[in-house]
């Protein structure tokens, strides 16, 4: 009998172009996403006089540098010349190299990790690369999807392949029903808090268990999106009927006979019973409560019911040094209940948490109420924005006092100039709480959309379950 295989092994082995004696593998890439950032890759191709091997296996999406306000005036309306250049350069590179392109005025525009799934550019069994660490989002479809740097982007553009070493596998199993008020964001923050920011290092994570199986595609995307925050190269979830129902009929999903053929392949992908993973971790969904981060790495996450940690209770000297440094940056006192931490601003957006279900969940919290601190929403894509407007969510947010903006990476990363004011404390639905990421000295608390909405109402970190 053959050894039972993991989904990862099956996808990997289907894409091996060549293998060297030392174990390095040349892997074929089915789809590669680029945004404005890796312009160095196109410059490099031009310098070497190279073309793109398969232009139609690439997709270029403008997302990092697009403004979230004043979009009607187009690129000409962007004041900062460097930002304008970044956006124009992607359009020029896409045109010159024949790459499909979604730009500022395209109704399909959005954050590339939101747009890819929306258009069914991500499908089960694929190897997907992208010039961004959160390319892992596409793993929710049972694909092997990971971020690459600009030199590797250049390599993929030139060869449609990539040199990789076989990573190890980690299965994270989450079982049980999610308690009320607990979202996919809380699940992934709980996972990262448990295994740490280096816990997935050198591994591909497969998320499994009844909690994951019961999740919608959007929830699964939130989970896979943050795999990188646990140090994993990729995260993936086996495709099932939820996956197929999501994909069927979308713009680039296979149709007719090809759909049936594809489905037959996709059904063979899930890990087999008895397949061996290098590492296993299990969590019970019942134990998870709404989470917030208190520090400067994504593992610094605690249930909102807890207190700011005390360095003197750290298990090791390294941990103590980290807590001390993080609390200094975050301007927090040990022992302070997290629900007493005041916030200055709220951001709801990013590839982690700005899909339609996220916006519905946030709207449900603020409906008929007024927020007390400045807050804005940047939907994950223009399509999400239109859909939300059709459902009347924009009116709920506007009536509550939110700004309702256009779609871009926005204040998750600040590439377009969307920053919080220096030193402000920001409740954010983005994936990362690194120092200075949302602006100089800005203190980021990462949480779910309903938790961020609750913080906007009260002006403090708030347990959304306690709001009436």
């Amino acid at each position: 009998m053959e050894t039972p295989k993991t989904m990862f092994e099956k996808i990997w082995s289907r894409h091996v172009v060549a293998q060297r004696d030392d174990g390095e593998t040349l892997l074929y890439v089915d789809r590669n996403f680029v945004h404005e950032g890796p312009f160095y890759a196109f410059d490099g191709l031009r310098r070497d006089g190279r073309r793109i091997r398969r232009p139609l296996k690439q997709i270029a999406v403008s997302d990092h540098y697009l403004p979230t306000v004043g979009r009607k005036s187009g690129i000409a309306g962007i004041a900062d010349p460097d930002i304008r250049t970044m956006i124009e350069r992607l359009a020029v590179n896409a045109r010159e190299f024949g790459v499909p392109f979604i730009g500022i005025d395209d109704p399909r525009q959005g954050i590339m990790h939101v747009v890819g799934p929306e258009l069914a550019l991500a499908q089960p069994g694929m190897i997907i690369t992208g010039a961004d660490s959160h390319t892992t989002t596409n793993g929710a479809f049972g694909a092997l999807a990971f971020g690459i740097g600009a030199s590797e982007v250049k390599h993929v553009l030139a060869t449609q392949a990539l040199w990789q070493r076989n990573p190890r596998t980690l299965r994270v199993t989450v079982d049980g029903a999610l308690p009320k008020g607990v979202t996919a964001k809380d699940v992934i923050l709980a996972i990262i808090a448990k295994i740490g920011v280096r816990g997935g290092s050198g591994h591909i994570i497969e998320y499994a268990g009844s909690t994951i199986r019961a999740m919608t595609m959007e929830q699964r995307m939130t989970i896979c999106n943050m795999s990188i925050e646990a140090g994993a190269k990729a995260g993936m979830i086996a495709p099932d009927e939820t996956t197929y129902a999501y994909l069927e009929g979308r713009d680039h999903a296979p149709r007719g006979d090809l759909w049936n053929k594809a489905l037959a392949v996709w059904r063979t992908l899930p890990s087999e019973a008895g397949a061996r993973f290098d590492k296993e971790v299990a969590l019970s969904a019942r134990d998870i409560v709404p989470m917030v981060t208190w520090g400067t790495t994504p593992e610094d996450a605690l249930p909102v019911t807890e207190k700011v940690p005390d360095p003197s209770s750290a298990a090791t000297a390294d941990e103590r040094a980290h807590i001390e440094r993080a609390l200094r940056y975050m301007d927090l006192t040990p022992g302070l209940p997290l629900v007493e931490v005041r916030v200055d601003r709220v951001f709801i957006g990013s590839c982690t948490n700005a899909r339609i279900e996220d916006l519905r969940a946030a709207a449900a919290v603020v409906k008929g109420k007024r927020i007390t601190v400045p807050a804005f929403i940047s939907p994950g894509s223009t399509a999400v924005k239109r859909r939300a407007e059709a459902e009347g969510l924009d009116r709920v947010f506007l009536a509550a006092g939110f700004e309702w903006r256009d779609s871009a990476c926005s204040m998750c990363v600040g590439a377009n100039g969307d920053f919080a004011a220096p030193g402000e404390r920001c409740a954010s639905t983005s994936p990362r709480n690194f120092e200075n990421r949302q602006g100089r000295g800005v203190r980021t608390h990462v949480m779910s959309p309903p938790m961020a909405a609750a913080a906007a109402l009260t002006g403090k970190l708030t347990d959304v379950r306690t709001l009436s």
């Binding site: 060549a18 030392d22 789809r31 190279r50 139609l56 740097g149 060869t159 920011v197 690194f434 120092e435």
Partner: protein, 208 residues
């Protein structure tokens, strides 16, 4: 790409673990052309105050570390974003090798592409090296790629692992595309078969 064979140079100790991509180079500098000198943006928020004035206490702002060509640091160096600017900035500063107990998921891969050697040594060895460097600022460390060894200021040698293919490319200053081109026939054959097996992936019909 500049080949990497052997260097003996001043090594700077940077004690903290989990140095992330945004610390290495803030996002706002990634729109700048390489010709602007990415060394100027390295560790920007730690090296400069709000007025752009150097913070004298940051290790790379102090003599003799301004001339450091080796960085000895903590675990998970370069974690976070895939941005290659985080490597360009280190290389442009003059650093040729980073010694750490481990690297973030993208950092080592991006380093190899730019002739920067990521050296992984056990935590206690890296700690020992950093302690020696603190005790004798300006002390030199030698990294010899052919023998895969680091020699500390006290003469103690540490052996490190590196994939043979990576080593070969660094020694020759070869980039990956040059190597991949040797596999052109395999790539053509694979692609034909793969496109036939999964024809729905063969082309993106973008209608424009």
């Amino acid at each position: 790409m500049e080949p990497f064979v052997r260097i003996t140079a001043i090594a700077a100790p940077l004690d903290r673990p989990d140095v992330d991509s945004d610390m290495l180079i803030p996002q706002r500098f990634l729109r700048r052309p390489l010709a602007d000198g990415y060394r100027n943006f390295l560790f920007y928020n730690d090296r400069f105050d709000a007025n752009g004035k150097e913070k004298p206490d940051f290790v790379l702002n102090r003599e003799p570390y301004r001339r450091a060509r080796i960085l000895v640091t903590g675990a998970n160096f370069g974690c976070g974003s895939a941005r290659e600017g985080a490597v360009y900035a280190v290389v442009d500063f003059g650093i040729r090798a980073v010694i750490a107990p481990g690297f973030g998921p993208f950092y080592a891969g991006n380093s190899y592409q730019n002739g920067l050697l990521p050296v992984v040594l056990p935590d206690e060895c890296v700690r020992e090296l950093r302690e020696q460097l603190h005790a004798a600022p300006g002390a030199e460390v030698t990294i010899d790629l052919p023998s895969q060894t680091v020699t500390g200021p006290d003469g103690r040698q540490y052996r490190f692992d590196i994939e043979p293919s990576r080593k070969e490319r660094l020694l020759a200053g070869l980039d990956d595309i040059a190597v991949t081109e040797r596999y052109a026939a395999e790539l053509d054959a694979f692609e034909r078969r793969h496109d036939a097996e999964m024809p729905w992936l063969a082309h993106l019909d973008f209608g424009k």
